[in-house]
Symmetry: C2
Subunit: 134 residues, 2 copies
């Protein structure tokens, strides 16, 4: 069921400084910052040969990464996004296995314009998992 790692999301308190670290110290290709107000984050994409890192900074009120940054003020790895072929089939398999799907279980449109779901980190050993229909 699990396909490619679409991205690894890293929450950071200072997007400009984090972008500079990935670009200058690590020599990675980084995008311009992209504000996504409907998702409550500004994102910079770090493009790698086989996947990408998304550096996320809170944007506006009620950002979904605000609480994470309160607990982890320096930042940290926030979630892993895996691609699936069929998000409804994936959801139903997870529910049948007893896993909890966040937000009522109906896919929402994610930051890439595709249907996404998030899984409860307690069911996956502290890792927040996003599933995105490929």
């Amino acid at each position: 069921m699990l396909g490619r790692v679409n991205h690894i999301a890293i929450a950071v308190p200072d997007l400009a400084a984090a972008t500079a670290a990935y670009r200058d110290s690590l020599g990675a290709a980084v995008s311009q910052p992209q504000p996504l107000p409907e998702h409550g984050v500004t994102v910079v994409f770090v493009e790698l040969p086989n996947t990408k890192i998304e550096l996320l900074q809170p944007l506006g009120q009620d950002s979904p990464i605000e609480a994470f940054l309160e607990k982890n003020p320096s930042g940290g790895m926030h979630h892993i996004c895996y691609e699936v072929d069929d998000i409804i089939l994936a959801r139903d398999r997870l529910l049948a296995a007893g896993s909890r799907v966040l937000g009522g279980g109906e896919p929402k449109t994610g930051a890439h314009g595709k249907p996404v779901l998030f899984l409860h980190p307690k069911d996956f050993f502290g890792t927040l998992i996003e599933l995105e229909q490929a």
Copy 2:
């Protein structure tokens, strides 16, 4: 400089249960557990089309993931490993940029038999980064 994401390491308190969750709930291909006593962990590889997840459980005394699990008893994302072509060039670039390389700065032989270095998470916004010579 940064190449492929070689793996994402997730520390877990119960490797058998985590393996079952990735295999049964998420439908991923998982390896047999592989004890790596010289690295203080037992690892299960979750094979994905473009990279892999390494589920890590402490093995023996002084496991490098013991302190992490004390702080995060349910487990969590522990580090990201990126491939680099030349680990000495990579290290020197990082040191010149003011980044801290852990363990004295000399590469050690990692779990895949290749030279590796770890970078200080405070220089990368709470993310522990491993570099592995490809």
